[in-house]
């Protein structure tokens, strides 16, 4: 089970990208080192999804896009009952889904 969600930091220019691309978006470098997606950020937008794939046994999941202070944006699950656009959130890593009986870990955002 993965403990971190990795972003890619360009070895040449230091730009962090998430999700990673083959070329660095700012200098077209191709060598990266993994850095964790972590810390606090601001919730840009969110939704509660009710029409879920069959492997979900819940009424809905809450998803959001967060602009993290570390300079990347990330989509993840929200562990917030009543989210507000613009609110501060903090990232952690947790189980987000089960696919074919295998736990999938990913970003979960909680209120700060």
């Amino acid at each position: 089970m993965a403990k971190i969600v990795e972003a890619a930091k360009c070895v040449k220019c230091g730009k962090i990208s998430y999700p990673m691309h083959f070329y660095c978006p700012s200098c077209r470098g191709t060598r990266f080192e993994p850095v964790p997606v972590e810390g606090e950020g601001r919730l840009i937008t969110w939704t509660r999804v009710y029409a879920l794939p069959l492997d979900y046994a819940v009424l809905y999941t809450t998803l959001g896009i967060v602009e993290l202070d570390m300079g990347v944006r990330a989509t993840g699950q929200l562990d917030i009952a009543e989210p507000k656009t613009g609110q501060r959130v903090r990232a952690r890593v947790g189980k987000v889904r089960e696919i074919n009986g295998k736990d999938i870990t990913g970003l979960v955002f909680g209120a700060v």
Binding site: A51, L54, A57, V58, L59
Partner: protein, 249 residues
């Protein structure tokens, strides 16, 4: 001279002794029934702008319903065949007094049957949900009717819980997850099949504002428009069911 052929259907051939015996047998076969509060009719405004009256059906409306249900028992689509066949048997059983404490609610749009739900009382505090059959699809008629059925058990029949199983994945998803129902696997639901789920008073009142709809009272004119029950056009009904609009991307 040969003896007359015995005719089971013709009354005059029976002696009074024979007649008495048949009544006694019937009395043995006909179960006693618990008193059941009536379901007060309500009006639901559908997405199309049409109004659906949800009301209790009576035994003399069973024949009309059977006529509508029967062709669906051959429809291998979204479990319509199994639901129709079983509902047919349940309603026939109700009509002939072979199922105990059964009730049936119908949804009626412009006098035309739009959906049927039924169930029965296990005892005073426990209810058994039987089936939900949608005839007019794409407007969440089934969802409204299932909610009415739960409303009837908890609010009007004053029960503590209702046992529910689903035959179709759509039903399972809708009832078990949307409400959400609790597992009650120690109970074997009367329909056989999967272990039972249960709707308790507590879950019902939590879900009520989200899932139970309709306005009361229903004006006498509107209620009158739901009598007598008319059959939907078979072709329109089958087309709607085939082209079910349940799924959204």
């Amino acid at each position: 001279m040969s003896p007359p052929v015995y005719d089971w259907d013709a009354g005059e051939y029976l002696t009074s002794e024979e007649e008495r015996m048949i009544d006694e047998l019937e009395a043995m076969l006909r179960p006693p029934v618990l008193p059941m509060a009536p379901y007060p009719p309500k009006a639901v405004l559908l997405a199309s702008g049409e109004t659906m009256v949800v009301r209790q059906a009576s035994i003399d409306e069973v024949d009309t319903m059977l006529k509508v249900i029967q062709p669906l028992s051959w429809l291998d689509r979204d479990f319509y065949d199994i639901v129709a066949a079983r509902l047919f048997a349940e309603l026939l059983g109700w009509k002939t007094y072979r199922v105990r404490n059964e009730y049936c609610l119908v949804g009626v749009v412009d006098g035309v049957l739009a959906g049927i739900v039924n169930g029965r009382l296990w005892d005073e505090k426990h209810g058994v949900s039987y089936h939900t059959l949608t005839l007019k699809r794409g407007l969440r008629v089934g969802s409204h009717l299932f909610a009415s059925k739960m409303e009837h058990h908890i609010e009007y029949l004053g029960q503590d819980e209702v046992w529910v199983v689903a035959e179709s994945p759509i039903g399972h998803r809708r009832w078990m997850i949307e409400y959400p129902l609790d597992k009650k696997f120690e109970i074997q639901h009367e329909l056989g099949g999967a272990p039972s789920y249960v709707l308790t008073r507590e879950t019902y009142f939590k879900a009520k504002s989200r899932l139970v709809t309709g306005t009361r009272p229903v004006s006498p004119e509107l209620l009158a428009s739901s009598y007598p029950l008319r059959e939907p056009d078979l072709k329109v009904m089958l087309t709607q069911i085939e082209d079910t609009l349940e799924a959204r991307l």
